[in-house]
């Protein structure tokens, strides 16, 4: 990771020095944008209470427009956790506009698997301070990939279509050798491929109305996921997502209604795993199918006559996650999240959220009963 950060920093400085050596103004356009957050959280986990101010997160985004056809973009993530500065490369890719209908990207990019991770996850865009079940750490939804992608959009009469197809290193199957409690889980952020097979995925979006108020999307990602030259080399995965978006100002309601939803399914091929009981390795298997879902509704009274109410937003989200029965990470979890946001400007908000999570399973097993209250200041720069 440090090498990647150093490479990026060198790229920025060498570019600037090179530009300064030439007396002519540089034609390379460079921007640093990004977003961040600071928050307070109070958690009641099955009766055990804890609360904490959380140190901020910061995600700078670097944009280099090298010409009207060529651009480099990268996003870093910085977070102070457990006394250490954690850093990660969210994406770093080069894009080239081939024609009016097709752009090619290569590098590490956000995967267009549904819309949440690619479009909605940044803290200043996400209307709640948490992500839905199934996304993020130990999630079943891929967020980024290293590879190549083509994408574009076009109109057909009064409707629009957009598409993205990509090939990446693909997910990697955790066979449980080092982490028996995670046997059968897919890991998505792989800088190196664990086999010679490359994943193939894509998303097709359809906007039936020319006001772009409704979008329907279908995504898929297919890949072999097992390590080469192992008993898992022929295990494959098939991931599917359906997404829905509706946003429109509704005059009778005096404001903007925004609905987002996404269904994700993960189907991993049959495989045998091993667990230790009293010093003896026992073989077991399970039907490795997972699914998750979220639907979110928000309302902002933009037609109100007072600025205070104009800047308010009310949000509700339901979310669900089911992981395979018989696996070490078996779970059935439900989540309800409610929030009130106050927008300080178009890219900064104070969010107050209350989240109830219940169900069974997870790494610890047993009943899940969590109630989380958060206040988050989210800002874009």
């Amino acid at each position: 990771m440090k090498k990647i950060i150093l490479t990026l920093i060198l790229f920025v400085f060498v570019g600037n020095i090179y530009a300064q050596l030439d007396n002519k103004p540089s034609k390379t356009q460079f921007m640093v944008r990004g977003y961040g957050s600071a928050s307070f959280s109070s958690l009641n986990n099955s009766g055990e209470k804890e609360s904490s101010f959380n140190t901020g997160t910061f995600a700078p985004i670097f944009l280099f427009k090298l010409s009207d056809k060529l651009m480099f973009e990268a996003e870093m993530e910085f977070e102070f956790e457990n006394g250490e500065l954690e850093s990660a490369l969210e994406y770093a890719d080069v894009m080239y506009v081939m024609n009016d209908y097709m752009t090619i990207r290569a590098g590490k990019f956000l995967l267009p698997f549904g819309t949440f991770m690619e479009r909605l996850h940044p803290t200043w865009i996400n209307k709640l301070s948490t992500v839905p079940l199934g996304f993020g750490h130990d999630g079943i939804v891929p967020s980024t990939g290293v590879g190549v992608e083509i994408r574009g959009a076009f109109s057909v009469s009064s409707s629009k279509f957009n598409y993205a197809f990509y090939s990446t290193n693909g997910p990697k199957l955790n066979n449980g050798a080092d982490e028996p409690e995670e046997a059968g889980i897919l890991h998505f952020n792989n800088y190196e491929d664990n086999n010679t097979n490359k994943s193939f995925g894509g998303r097709i979006g359809y906007l039936p109305f020319s006001d772009s108020s409704v979008e329907l999307g279908f995504s898929f990602l297919n890949s072999k996921v097992g390590d080469a030259d192992s008993s898992y080399e022929n295990v494959s995965s098939n991931l599917i997502a359906y997404d829905f978006s509706f946003i429109k100002k509704i005059e009778p309601l005096g404001g903007v209604i925004d609905i987002k939803a996404q269904v994700n399914t993960s189907n991993v091929g049959d495989a045998s795993y091993f667990e230790e009981h009293n010093g003896v390795l026992e073989e077991y298997t399970f039907d490795n199918k997972s699914d998750s879902f979220y639907a979110q509704l928000s309302y902002r009274p933009t037609a109100s006559e007072t600025d205070f109410f104009n800047n308010l937003e009310f949000v509700g989200r339901v979310s669900k996650l089911n992981t395979p029965e018989g696996s070490e990470w078996e779970s059935q979890v439900n989540q309800k999240t409610f929030g009130i946001n106050y927008w300080l400007n178009w890219r900064s908000a104070i969010k107050m959220n209350y989240q109830i999570t219940d169900g069974t399973g997870g790494h610890g097993g047993g009943l899940i009963d969590r109630k989380l209250f958060t206040i988050q200041l989210a800002f874009g720069i």
Binding site: M31, Y101, R151
Partner: protein, 94 residues
């Protein structure tokens, strides 16, 4: 899983119902004509808000908008016509 699919279908139908209920005659004409008949300011209002709040044209200078134009055309899957009209409006209003 059935509950998930049912909820999605209900959400979808609800969205479509609201669209049809809230569309006035003028809006329907616009919908039929498509993107070509729309102005930059209309497309700006309709597309940015699909993901985030709408920025003011004064939020960035023209050079920065040119960089953002390329970034957002790809990220938000804007068509060429949409992108050109939206950012022409932004530059004219900046």
């Amino acid at each position: 899983m059935k509950t998930i699919i049912k909820t999605t279908i209900v959400s979808l139908l609800m969205g479509l119902l609201v669209v049809s209920c809230s569309s006035n005659k003028e809006a329907l004409v616009q919908v039929k004509k498509g993107v070509q008949a729309k102005s930059g300011v209309q497309l700006w209002g309709e597309n940015c808000v699909r993901c985030h709040n709408i920025p003011s044209p004064a939020a960035f200078n023209d050079v920065d908008w040119s960089t953002i134009e390329m970034h957002m055309k790809v990220r938000a899957n804007l068509t060429k016509v949409e992108s050109e009209k939206i950012f022409e409006f932004i530059r004219s209003a900046n």
